[in-house]
């Protein structure tokens, strides 16, 4: 019952969809940010143009770097694609077939992060070291907070399988329970931190005092940089999809059939449209935090997640 070979075409389509959705979503966020800051925005497909330009360009290897430097972009990229197999996107039909649960998902993100940080330290430049260190600093608080959010959703659904959780939560009441509200808030903060968005990191700057993600990628160029950036955009969309399937699962289909799939896809497109605009709005009105304040921000996420499961224990059982 478990081997997912019978669903290989479906899985393949899902991965392709995610690979395409990642840069597209990033493009949409940038469009809204452009409009909000009174600029003439680039097109929605600008990230694709950037990726293809990078892929065609010659790659430069910093002298003194090892094979890890060349391997890491592939590891990061393929880890993200494997992670996309563990998250329900359009339907929860394959919920029981996923080859890992949400904790495995957290582990996969950690794997990608470790490889990214190691690759950053490989060239032996101070900026890379700094970026790697800061990335791990954000990660060490975001990871346990994510696990705690998963605990909260487990309390409601008795499953850590992402598909099953969203199936259960979808059938539940549409009225939010306190634990889910806390969980969703914590999750939003984690999403910002893990993906290097404002107020943790500014994807648009190269300022040494503030940058995290960009500092790690400083020595990358050409195809390696393209794979890293592509992987990061996929990571953002995966975090968003996971959040949607936990906290806004309504509209997702649970039965096989193209009609349900179509409706669900439309719902998903709507949710991504709105959440992209929301993310852009949030990023426009927020200021970047000082790097020393970042742990406090992530601690807030951790505490909110703790409040989530405690409120379930105290109020809801």
């Amino acid at each position: 019952m478990n081997v997912s070979a019978d669903n290989l075409p479906g899985d393949f389509l899902r991965v392709l969809l995610i690979v395409f959705l990642g840069p597209l979503f990033l493009g949409w966020v940038n469009v809204v940010r452009g409009i909000l800051s009174n600029r003439k925005p680039p097109g929605v497909f600008q990230p694709f143009r950037d990726l293809f330009r990078l892929l065609r360009k010659e790659a430069i290897l910093p002298s003194g770097s090892s094979v890890l430097f060349r391997l890491a972009p592939y590891v990061v990229f393929s880890t993200m694609l494997v992670a996309s197999l563990l998250i329900p996107v359009v339907s929860t039909v394959t919920a029981y077939r996923a080859m890992g649960d949400a904790i495995v998902l957290v582990g996969l993100f950690a794997l990608a992060r470790v490889f990214m940080a190691l690759a950053a330290m490989d060239a032996g430049t101070p900026f890379g070291d700094l970026g790697g260190r800061r990335e791990m600093m954000v990660g060490f608080l975001a990871e346990p907070a994510t696990i705690l959010v998963l605990f909260t959703t487990y309390l409601l659904s008795h499953s850590t399988m992402t598909g099953v959780t969203s199936e259960v939560l979808r059938e539940g009441s549409i009225l939010p329970t306190p634990s889910l509200v806390f969980g969703a808030l914590a999750y939003f903060l984690i999403l910002l931190g893990e993906n290097g968005r404002i107020p943790i990191d500014n994807p648009a700057t190269h300022l040494e005092l503030t940058m995290i993600h960009e500092a790690m990628l400083l020595e990358y160029s050409g195809r390696y940089l393209a794979l890293m950036e592509w992987g990061s955009s996929i990571k953002l969309i995966l975090y968003l999809l996971l959040g949607i399937s936990f906290f806004f699962p309504w509209g997702m289909t649970g039965a096989p059939g193209w009609r349900g799939d179509l409706l669900s896809s439309a719902a998903l497109a709507g949710k991504l449209f709105v959440s992209g605009a929301g993310l852009a709005l949030f990023e426009t009105i927020m200021a970047k935090l000082r790097i020393f304040r970042v742990p406090e921000f992530m601690t807030l996420a951790f505490l909110l997640a703790i409040l989530g499961f405690l409120s379930h224990f105290i109020l809801e059982v």
Binding site: N2, P62, G100, A110, V114, G139, V164
Partner: protein, 696 residues
């Protein structure tokens, strides 16, 4: 169940022949391994003394013996054999009780495997020692191994403590290998002190336990009698806490962990690998034997589980935080041992908590997580210690701040160390992840616990586990990034050469085992399931293990499942696919050039991160966990000095006050001493007088 052979006291003439005649059984194999190890020890010592040169081949013989012991353990688990034997030595009325049940077999597998791999490594590692040093090491390592095997198969308190002390002393002698250095002597003394403190606590707990034994006399100390005994409730708690402290001191549980970060750097790398990889696990074995075997399941209460759980969670967090502050690789790994023992105890505590509240499913899951992590930690920690040993031997530096760029000079060591680092960081698809995943899965059952306090405790402990595991990843990014990547920070690192072939084989075996246990956890868990069934009569629920070898499903696939093989295969397929696509469409080789470095032209190796800088965010954020002595120079200071010392607060607030108190007491006792003979005669008289009054 296998045949039980009983030998009578007084010894019969044909006991030993009958033991051998009755055919091979796992226990006989284990006894032979112990005997062989002892022989190899004396052989190695004698040969290298006699011919004044090292004989590394004895380590190869040790390795083969380790394989034999592992086979014996696997055999015991697969056939479910429990063998026992009485040997005609020991106290009158208490012959040596030896017994190998499934729990012993499991730990024997662990011991044998690590012994084999580390001994192979040792054949190369100790090749260039002077013959005196070699004789010393090659005597004590096999004796140490034999004593550890002895602890695992003892079946009465006397022989248990005998082997336990043998293990402590052999490892003490190994820690003291470089006894001409003062810090090594201090570390050795501290270790001996802690070891004996632990032993005495265990001894007291055995004595208390024997009070409830159905027979009197020395025979009461047989484990069988202790099992049947019944003690009062207050006594039960006393025994529990005494044994927890005693075994905890050996395992490095907070707050009795002080010896670990001192003793591990002092010992040669293979010895540290044995101590951290195996000896700490023997203490865990003792704890499990005591709580599940001797105290008995029926006597466990939830509070005991909660105590162990809280201790484990704190040890885990504390260990990793201090590991992040270290720049001496073996000291850093020692703090990680404290962390991992904490993780093992989290699983163990959860299982007691769930058993005591009658939830067998999560209880067995937690116990299997704990046992699995015991094995995993043995594998990757030995691997990491060996890797660190090679690096130290080849660069001559005990400070990772003086390393860098070793991945190009020691590629194999770097690869194996990276595998160990990914495993200990709990990343899929390596082995550390599986046991942590199982621990999380069992902690999720907290909802079934009645009391909100226990529920919150379990979830908080799981949160601390997640925190510790993320911090471990950070710490190993630091170690790997600073010592293996980047540019060399010293000439030692610049001129390092790859480690020898046998070292590579030893590490390669352990690295392969880490990957294997990560990809195929189900066969191992099936073995663990047998062990648990034999211990507590309950096993993992049926659906979980009837699945294919591919899927790890603790309860039901709707709740949680994990397939490491599929995960690794899809990861590999996508990776290769991406690589091939890039190769086909963009076949333009990358061009090497200077790093861009934001355009800064000057770049020296000293501009790279140091270990202390890497831990700086942690130092700021978790400041209450450290005692920080930091001195920043004044701008006008002509001879500026920067100083940063981070100390374990236990020294300041626990160990030193206790030491002062003991010294104060001994000072008082000193008042009695150094008198004239007449005063001593008065002492004797008063003592006699008191005895006569009191005992009549």
């Amino acid at each position: 169940m296998g045949a039980k052979r009983r030998f009578l006291w007084p010894p019969q003439k044909n006991d030993m022949t009958e033991l051998l005649k009755n055919g091979a059984s796992p226990l006989v194999f284990s006894l032979i391994s112990m005997l062989l190890w002892t022989v190899w020890g004396f052989l190695g010592y004698g040969l290298s003394r006699l011919f004044s040169r090292p004989f590394p081949v004895v380590f190869f013989l040790s390795a083969m013996t380790g394989v034999l012991l592992a086979v014996s353990g696997v055999w015991g688990i697969v056939t479910g054999t429990t063998g026992s034997v009485l040997l005609p030595w020991g106290l009158p009325g208490l012959p040596f009780h030896l017994r190998q049940d499934l729990l012993s077999s499991y730990f024997l597998v662990l011991l044998g495997t690590i012994a084999a791999a580390v001994s192979v490594y040792s054949t190369g590692f100790f090749r260039r020692e002077t013959h005196e040093r070699f004789a010393w090491i090659s005597l004590w390592i096999p004796v140490f191994l034999a004593a550890m095997a002895g602890v695992l198969i003892s079946d009465d308190a006397f022989v248990f403590l005998l082997f336990w002390e043998g293990m402590a002393l052999a490892s003490f002698f190994l820690v003291m290998t470089d006894f001409d250095r003062e810090w090594v002597r201090e570390a050795g003394f501290l270790y001996l002190l802690m070891a004996h403190l632990g032993t005495s606590l265990i001894l007291v707990s055995f004595v208390l336990l024997s009070l409830g034994s159905p027979v009197s006399g020395p025979g009461a100390f047989a484990f069988d009698m202790l099992r049947q005994g019944s003690v009062s409730r207050g006594m039960l708690f006393a025994i529990f806490f005494l044994s927890l402290a005693g075994f905890g001191a050996k395992a490095g549980v907070l707050p009795l962990h002080g010896w670990l970060p001192e003793a591990h750097p002092a010992a040669p790398a293979p010895v540290s690998a044995f101590m951290s990889g195996v000896m700490l696990k023997i203490a865990i074995y003792g704890l499990m034997r005591m709580d599940f075997g001797l105290l008995g399941m029926k006597n466990l209460v939830p509070g005991m589980g909660a105590t162990i759980l809280a201790l484990g969670a704190f040890s885990a967090l504390f260990g990793v935080l201090h590991a992040l502050m270290q720049h001496e690789p073996k000291r850093l790994l020692a703090y990680h041992s404290i962390e991992n023992i904490g993780i093992i105890l989290i699983g163990f505590g959860l299982s007691i908590l769930f058993f005591a509240t009658r939830h067998p499913i999560p209880a067995t899951m937690a116990l299997s997580a704990s046992l699995f992590h015991t094995l995993n930690h043995a594998l990757f920690k030995s691997l990491l210690f060996l890797g660190a040993g090679s690096v130290i031997a080849r660069t001559g530096s005990h400070d990772i701040n003086r390393l860098g760029g070793l991945v190009r000079r020691m590629p194999y060591t770097a690869l194996f160390f990276l595998i160990g680092a990914l495993s200990i960081s709990g990343l899929p698809p390596f082995n550390g992840f599986v046991s942590e995943w199982l621990t999380f899965q069992s902690a999720l059952w907290a909802t079934d616990l009645g009391e909100t306090m226990f529920r919150s405790l379990v979830v908080l402990a799981a949160a601390l586990l997640a925190l510790a595991s993320a911090l471990t990843a950070m710490c190993f990014v630091k170690v790997v990034g600073i010592s293996f990547l980047g540019n060399p920070r010293s000439s030692g690192a610049e001129n390092a050469r790859e480690t020898g072939v046998s070292e590579r084989i030893g590490m390669g075996v352990l690295a392969t085992a880490c990957i294997g246990a990560g990809l195929f956890p189900v066969p191992i868990l099936k073995g663990i399931d047998r062990v648990i069934r034999s211990m507590v009569g309950e096993g993992l629920p049926l659906p979980s293990l009837s699945h294919q070898w591919l899927w790890l499903v603790p309860v039901s696939s709707g709740q949680a499942q994990y397939s490491p093989v599929l995960l690794a295969v899809s990861l590999g397929v996508i990776l290769v696919l991406a690589g091939v696509l890039v190769r086909i469409f963009l076949n333009r080789p990358p061009r090497p050039s200077l790093p861009w470095n934001c355009g800064y032209p000057v770049r020296t190796p000293r501009m790279q991160d140091s270990a202390d800088a890497f831990g700086q965010p942690i130092r700021r954020f978790f400041a209450p966990f450290f005692l920080i002595d930091r001195h920043l120079p004044d701008p006008s200071d002509p001879a500026p000095e920067y100083r940063l010392r981070i100390e374990d607060p236990h020294w300041e607030f626990l160990y030193r006050p206790v030491t002062r108190f003991v010294l104060f007491l001994s000072g008082l006792a000193e008042l009695l001493r150094n008198r004239r003979i007449s005063v001593y005669l008065v002492y004797s008289f008063v003592t006699l007088f008191l005895l006569l009054i009191l005992l009549r």
